[in-house]
Symmetry: D2
Subunit: 309 residues, 4 copies
């Protein structure tokens, strides 16, 4: 295979204030399916087009936010290689044994990113019981429900030292830098979009004084029509809308943003271009960031910029 | 970057019986743009979402069909590595110097596949003048026209020895086997879908007695809505329809097939899943091939099966 | 109001061979809701965007087909006027008292059309309990399911004497002739599309030797995207596909045809133009009928032409 | 025919500050076609799915706004009837001879509405040279361009005495009241949607102290996908966006609002329900108006409420 090393963002653990409200939101509204619950009460979820055991974990907590984001890698040998390189790069990490807090997952390296986020790297995941099918498969095994999200796609992380984090994610983890928004100085990168594959991003970073903050987790939809359907569901079910339906200039994705019942921001999006590593970096000047993010209104609003969990 | 080695299908040269009719078909109908013409009268075309100098070449000839399909690789070092491995695998190849018959292209290895097709491997391509844009880019530089194809996507090749060809493409070139259709014996692979990236396929192979045959070249569209629009254009402009609008079971793509004025089959398609190398192989039994290919009618027709160029 | 006299096709009673299979088909697949069942075992259904008590009735019988189609008119005074004019025109009719065999319906005139079909004319219908909502209404009261049909739209009837039937429906009932397909003689109308409103048709007629035959009943969908979704459901649930997804030249509608478990043909369609009575008649020559009906393949198939119930 | 009396909104004359900029906006962006220009320099336009000679007129002026809106009626006899009833109702009107200021149009009654707007009623219009086609017609005669608007659809008018105007339009002109937004008192109608046909509205009225103001003119698009495409064109061509892409609760239409170069508000919209005169009135309480108009954000903005021309 030619997608090597690090494959994709495949795991995220989210803190929620009311677990049952969160389960209803992520299952009935977004369309994820509950896989199982852990002995410590966390709820494991997956999207219908994913083969891995689970991708989203909900944890009851006193504060919303993200516990960790995970990147799946090619194999255990590459994971060992990453451990060595991470040590050399100088980032702290912890080794998490297989089948401990993430059922179905093999051993993980829990790396402390300089942005204050925890990044879990892992190679082995058990195949989900409820997967897309491999033997004369129908296009779905049970009809998508709610917004019908296909898979967990990416996260936008807010924190300090994004330059160093981006250096680690490109030089060590092997991600590609796809787009950047320049700061007012025209030199530094205010925001950076990074991918492991043809997606426009698996992880995006935005420079921010508070460490370890989550701007949003993103899920994939089929097309603009499904974005409109998501918007209808958001209004009918009194979900807190943040922005959209709209398009991004960055990634060209069609999108809508909203909040889960705990205030964690969600995105469902569709379209956007297919990235390849031989494509040039796409660069946005600071004074074009409005159009880059909100392609239609061309003006960012305070809430979108500054509300994070 | 983690898309390594071989990146994607990026070049195809097609034989046409009437060059000017072909140019109208591929530019005004499919929506490609003419880049330039060569001294020997070939026409170079590209799609609006491609960065490379050109992707489609039309050559006037007495017989329709495909001269060559090209795969772009990571860099020249990998190309050198491929040359050595190709030699070891035992396939004949020719070295084509840079900027010879394909303007803007670096050196190529022209490998003779056991199926009778010519596969060109190359690392360097000049960036197109008319590309998607990288500095505060709008979502398109000029409005897509005709069917509005985004890029050249893949080809389905008919020929003998597909097992050996697939072995070369996976073991040497590094492609992933995504789906297969089993033959009546339940053992051999009648058809094989191979990819270098997240696409469901860059090259597909179908076992056939005649060597070097082309079933179709495929182009990407945004969504099912654009498939419908393509169908309207096909009828209005008296283009010979082959099959669709429909969906494939294999790849899950939404699609329509038609013929260029020389009888070469074209496909425009949208949707389908994103492939990752950790996904299990999807397998179709011979008696399910109808549903696998024609997901709605569930029955292949003779023309689709046997008309090739 | 300026939509006067006859409003729309609002009722159809269908004969089915297996009632429970039919109920599953029309509710879970098409997305109709069951309203209630009658003492004689018929099942009353409605679509989510309809205000009237019910629109579709399923009756268990030994032979598939249509018992009656109904047109709703402006008010009882107009119904009285129609009774007089029908008598003068010379068609037989029966008076059906209110709340007899169609719960929630006022008195009806059951007119015997010269094509051998029964046409029920009625003015009063009780409002459905489960209607779209009128007080700060959400866009739907419960989320559309299955194919999500919006409403019963029209029927295509096969029978003799369509010229006389069309004369009655235009001169007495007040429908507009929207499109016609000419017979081989270039004079007679082989097929006629008739409407009471902005729809392209409420009733269409095709000249056929057997009286009282049903070609299909049609339901409305939102857009081409929903046609594609319907096609997916047809394949997944092993529903017998007839033709499509495709477009009609006549009406310009985007459409797919399939059979209910008893062999009655269904259509779900979207789009098409808005008809107004000041628009000229659209005429199709006999040798263009293929394109008129199957806009993409441009060729009618025997099954579509001749299989009726 | 059963659409009787008054058929639809079919004509609007708009004042623009820069004629050539306006022509580019309405032809290249919205996709209307220029029919001809008058001796006094006005530009006549039509949409590709309209049969009438023209529907939109642009007039160079020092102030933006609307000169007149026109309703097409069934025939001259009904126009004569309307003249008598208008006199009895007590509204001033002028008789405009055929082929005077509106080429291709028969005689008109120019009625002075109590809201300060001019309403032209007319029965005869020459058929456009460039119409949708009636003989074995393709789905379009030339491919839709720009946003691809199908037809002029409706206008929202701001002015005083909307109650009296609505009384005239229903009792005399014969329009149906489809939806209303109640004022803070819960009694009066703050806004009223009126139709002549299956559309949700041909004319809407909003109570406002200044007479004769235009909120927007609306055009029809095929579906939500075309709304998204319109949004892309708005951003790429630096058109002043007002609101959307979004959905209305009122009419259920999917929509986007923007301004022409002179500041006149345009709407392109799709979807929405089909109205019939036997449907109950849909009523919005004053405190639900936000959701009624901006179904997603549920909050009206000042600009949308108060910027009129």
């Amino acid at each position: 295979m030619t997608i090597r090393g690090t494959l994709r963002a495949g795991l995220v653990q989210i803190r929620v204030l009311d677990l049952e409200k969160a389960v209803i939101h992520y299952t009935e509204r977004l369309g994820l399916d509950e896989v199982c619950r852990t002995s410590d009460g966390r709820v494991l979820l997956k999207a219908y087009d994913e083969f891995d055991h689970h991708s989203i974990v909900l944890r009851q907590a006193h504060e919303a936010g993200m516990d960790l984001i995970g990147l799946k890698v090619e194999n255990d040998a590459f994971l060992t290689e990453l451990e060595q390189k991470t040590k050399e790069f100088g980032l702290k990490y912890e080794s998490i044994p297989a089948n401990s807090d993430q059922p179905g997952f093999g051993r993980r390296l829990a790396v402390s990113l300089p942005t204050g986020h925890r990044l879990d790297l892992y190679a082995e995941v058990a195949i989900a019981e409820d997967h897309p099918g491999v033997k004369n498969p129908d296009i779905w095994q049970k009809e998508p429900h709610g917004m019908g999200v296909l898979n967990f796609d990416h996260a936008l992380l807010y924190g300090p030292n994004t330059k160093l984090a981006a250096q680690y994610l490109t030089e060590v983890v092997g991600m590609s830098k796809v787009e950047v928004v320049k700061g007012p100085d025209g030199e530094s990168d205010l925001a950076t979009w990074l991918t492991c594959n043809n997606k426009a991003h698996d992880i995006a970073l935005l420079e921010h004084e508070q460490p370890g903050k989550l701007h949003h987790i993103g899920f994939k939809l089929e097309s603009w029509t499904e974005i409109g359907h998501a918007a209808d569901l958001i209004s009918i079910h009194d979900i807190a809308l943040d922005a959209g339906p709209m398009r991004h200039g960055v990634t060209r994705g069609q999108t809508i943003y909203f909040f889960d019942p705990s205030g964690n921001r969600n995105e469902v999006y569709a379209g956007g271009y297919a990235h390849f590593p031989d494509m040039p970096l796409r660069v946005w000047d600071f004074d074009h960031v409005g159009k880059g993010v909100f392609y239609y209104t061309r003006a960012l609003n305070e809430r979108f910029l500054n509300v994070v969990t």
